[in-house]
């Protein structure tokens, strides 16, 4: 695969908060249909990297290319366009608390994509159906379980027709018994060929979905490779050590 096919490419992204540098220049490129998994200890910069990719945290240095076109990070218009094409799923869902499940989806379609009320509603219902929540359309976030909220959040992101989906520990805030429903939706997305970058500690996602694993530590990508390369038993890698520790905590995930 060459760079010519990359959907999204970031080059040397740097981010610091005050004197504290969180991201020391991250570079990666993502191809159509590829799934990259970010792993590593907390505070390693995974969330910051994801937030820098769609500029929720504005990187101080570095460049972002969408289909090899450089995105002007100073232009609000180009940023909003980037964000529409790069969807994001948050650890704590970030559903709009004052809107029902279906309106969480239609509000973006209507205000950002300027769709008509009828079209937006139709699209929203279809997306809710995809994540198995058609019957919860008129419920408010406070009336949904964590897993349901995350599935609505995924439906909301998908309704914008993103080309890439960023997932920031999508299952970490969930009760253990609710993790499964979200995992199965993510696997379904992967099956449909969605391009994703995902930070996760869920071994079942890492081992079954990852095309490439990036191990982040202290704000740098310290290892990367395919799961076969990094997790094979004759390999000594930080990734493997880390995944073995994850397995010790939750062996039933394998």
């Amino acid at each position: 695969m060459s760079n010519a096919l990359s959907i999204l490419r970031i080059s040397n992204l740097k981010k610091s908060y005050g004197k504290n540098t969180i991201l020391h220049g991250a570079t990666l490129s993502l191809h159509q249909g590829e799934i990259i998994v970010l792993i590593g200890p907390s505070g390693g910069g995974k969330s910051t990297l994801l937030q820098c990719i769609n500029c929720l945290a504005m990187p101080e240095e570095g460049e972002i290319f969408l289909h090899d076109n450089r995105v002007d990070l100073q232009s609000a218009g180009e940023l909003n366009e980037l964000r529409q094409k790069v969807g994001m799923i948050f650890q704590d869902f970030n559903l709009f608390d004052h809107l029902t499940a279906v309106d969480n989806i239609t509000v973006a379609l209507r205000k950002v994509k300027k769709m008509s009320k009828k079209d937006a509603l139709c699209r929203a219902r279809r997306e809710l159906d995809q994540v198995g929540l058609s019957d919860k359309a008129s419920l408010y976030p406070a009336q949904l379980s964590g897993g349901q909220k995350q599935r609505v959040a995924i439906a909301r992101a998908l309704a914008m027709d993103p080309e890439v989906l960023l997932l920031d520990e999508p299952t970490s805030a969930l009760d253990p018994e609710l993790v499964g429903e979200v995992i199965s939706v993510i696997k379904q997305l992967a099956g449909n060929g969605m391009t994703m970058i995902m930070a996760t500690h869920q071994m079942s996602l890492i081992s079954t979905l990852a095309d490439r694993i990036l191990f982040m530590e202290n704000g740098s990508i310290v290892e990367q490779g395919t799961p076969q390369e990094l997790l094979s038993s004759d390999m000594v890698s930080k990734t493997r050590g880390f995944c073995e520790r994850l397995n010790e905590i939750s062996p039933e995930d394998l």
Binding site: N80, E81, F96, D97, H98, A108, Q143
Partner: protein
């Protein structure tokens, strides 16, 4: 039963005053909420300049007595050639004063909205203004409504200060009759009942609005 001349004169006067009081309160309450939303939003989300302007406004109108503000509007502005009718002076004074207090409730509510709501909208491609307008403000209004209602109830009572710039509202009408008949206790007791009725109506309306805006997850659970 025939009412005594005192009551025959008092009740029509008070009713006239009541209508004037309502005519003062309604635009003042609406204007106050509007100014409060604008000033509160500027104070919470504006840049350095608009924030300073908002803060200065709130500091000025919360920091000086309403009586002084009304005096300046009615007796002070003519010095620079601006003549306001008593009614206009009172309404403008109430709007500005009420708006300053409302802005504090709105600002607090805006700042209490979780950062994630903002991030969620930004990640979908909402512009800054769209985020504030469609996501943040609708939630903040629901959090601010109790404080804003409180301020409106307070406004109903300080509307009696319009009397000092010669607007003949409830208190003014009553005081005239009280002086005429020298029966202060009865008159002011009755004025008190009028205000109690007004406030009760306001509480009822506010409750209706609160119920209408009710969303699971905001405020109490029914």
């Amino acid at each position: 039963m025939e009412l005594s001349p005192f009551y025959q004169e008092l009740l029509p006067s008070l009713n006239r005053g009541l209508i004037m009081t309502i005519a003062l309160i309604v635009p003042s309450a609406l204007g106050g909420v509007f100014i409060g939303i604008v000033a509160g939003t500027l104070r919470a989300y504006g840049n350095r300049i608009t924030r300073s302007i908002g803060n200065f406004y709130a500091a000025l109108f919360r920091g000086t007595p309403l009586v002084v503000q009304l005096f300046v509007l009615y007796f002070g502005l003519p010095n620079i050639g601006l003549y306001l009718s008593p009614y206009m002076a009172a309404v403008i004074g109430f709007i500005l004063c009420s708006g300053a207090y409302q802005s504090e409730y709105i600002r607090g509510a805006l700042l209490s909205i979780k950062r994630g709501q903002y991030h969620g909208a930004q990640a979908l491609g909402f512009s800054f203004f769209q985020t504030i307008f469609w996501i943040i403000i609708p939630q903040a209004v629901r959090k601010a409504i109790h404080g804003c209602g409180n301020e409106i109830i307070y406004l109903i009572k300080y509307s009696s200060l319009a009397y000092i710039v010669t607007v003949m509202e409830l208190t003014g009408e009553g005081k005239t009759i009280a002086t005429e008949y020298f029966r202060f206790t009865e008159v002011f007791m009755i004025i008190g009942l009028y205000y109690l009725a007004l406030v009760s109506c306001a509480v009822f309306i506010l409750k209706r609005i609160e119920n209408k805006l009710y969303i699971p997850g905001f405020g109490y659970n029914r």
